[in-house]
Symmetry: C2
């Protein structure tokens, strides 16, 4: 059934040199394959099926555990550049020379680095809730607005996600609860699941965020050479990676459209999943050399 693909697609493993990468691949259609690059501590089991399965109706989607995450071998690199190298090695091993990409949060940074390291790897890019190198206020979990949620003993399991991925309005919180419900349904898959990420994954990824905030030379100048058609998406009240980072992306990427959602935070793509899938599909279906769709 098309709408339970996330729940049934088997995890596959690919050996490349001394590494082993866990991934899931499902869906199909006339579109180019779409690589999903995941957020902070997220595994194969953290993608919202309302997004992955809907996009899988017109193309093959590839969910991927980067090194040290889920059931992929190795350690999490402490720099985005190392994660980009692993993702490129994975695609090479899979025999994918060019694909589209949806990078969310940390995954968007990895996508930007990959596009710079090897421009031919991507045709079109979707970057959600992410930041350019040299961006501001990237995933500072220690700031009061976020720390209070991490310190709240009542927020067990997925519950914290309604606080850190959604805005503090009734409508956004309701969307957050619907999102959690979809993840819970997915969790009824009892076998073949990834282990949740532990503190060592979090620590290395946080180190990568800190390194990504640093820049040398002219700030954001590195973006000007990334000419891919790009769709940048952000929730206007994103506390984890503020929307100003998406402003800087489209001001410096030469060929990027920006879509900002109201009443939403870091998880805007999950809150407005129907709208997001409609826009993402229209964007990915375009063959224009310009990003507008």
């Amino acid at each position: 059934m098309a709408d339970v693909r996330s729940a049934t697609a088997p995890t596959q493993f690919l050996a490349v040199n001394d590494d082993r990468y866990a991934y899931r691949r499902f869906g199909g259609g006339r579109g180019h394959p779409l690589l999903f690059l995941q957020h902070f501590t997220g595994t194969l089991d953290n993608w919202d099926p309302a997004v992955t399965d809907a996009l899988a109706r017109e193309r093959e989607v590839i969910l991927f555990d980067n090194a040290g995450v889920g059931r992929s071998s190795g350690r999490v690199p402490a720099k985005v550049a190392g994660m980009a190298q692993h993702a490129l090695a994975f695609l090479d091993g899979l025999g994918v020379a060019t694909c589209d990409v949806l990078g969310f949060s940390l995954g968007g940074m990895v996508a930007l680095q990959m596009a710079q390291d090897r421009p031919s790897i991507f045709r079109r890019m979707i970057l959600v809730g992410t930041a350019p190198r040299g961006g501001e206020d990237i995933m500072h979990l220690e700031k009061p607005g976020l720390a209070r949620h991490f310190a709240d003993p009542k927020l067990v399991g997925y519950a914290i996600l309604t606080k850190i991925f959604f805005a503090p309005t009734q409508s956004s919180q309701a969307a957050g609860e619907a999102f959690i419900e979809r993840l819970m349904q997915l969790a009824q898959r009892r076998e073949d699941r990834d282990p949740p990420s532990g503190p060592e994954v979090a620590a290395a990824q946080i180190a990568a965020f800190r390194e990504w905030e640093r820049f040398t030379g002219e700030r954001f100048a590195d973006l000007k050479s990334i000419r891919h058609s790009t769709l940048v998406v952000n929730g206007v009240h994103d506390e984890m990676i503020p929307v100003s980072n998406s402003y800087r992306l489209v001001e410096n990427l030469p060929n990027a459209v920006l879509l900002v959602y109201p009443d939403s935070g870091h998880g805007s793509l999950f809150q407005f999943h129907e709208s997001f899938v409609r826009h993402a599909s229209a964007f990915l279906s375009s063959d224009s050399r310009f990003a507008p769709f």
Copy 2:
């Protein structure tokens, strides 16, 4: 013919109290009527038929000369508030209790003021290349980047629009030339045209921009009460009204989606008219209480 409506729709005149308003009304379909509010010095003859006629396929569109512009009577008010009063009087005279609105540049400011003065007048709003009260760097034609075009004797007739409405790239300039060509075709309509705006129109509208830059109390707080579903659109390299004004709009309007186009200036809706019409149509066709479409 559907695609020459702008070229053939007769100008009509509506008397309200001592004022006479010029307008054109054409198209039809299941959508709500869509009021077009025009930019600095623009008349009924300055709307791009690629936008008006395409949107007229699914709804009635109403092009409107505000007081003192084109063949409307009276003087141009020196404040946006005065323009909003005239537009409301016009709609009252026409018997339109609620409509959708597309406000471009100055027209977007008038739309915001109308929404505040009488919320019931609009169902959904599209605001392109505009700014909230208290916005920054609004139409400072004296700044070097713009003044050099106004001082250039080679830029006669419509030619200046390619410079001030489009970005200084080959692709944007080519789009600018196509836009001018569409306006020239429209100008083959030899009768029933508006006179071009003179310096007194420009002076009063510039005064209105200066007044609109001023604010009292908490900056942008007035936007929080405008709860209409709103689509905000801007070109990323807009020199006339910088894109930061659109950022402030969606950060403070509670229910507004932002769409930013790359490689474009003030006239982004004309440069990417196919994409703009597609998004505007989808947005206007939605009956959701949320802006995302």
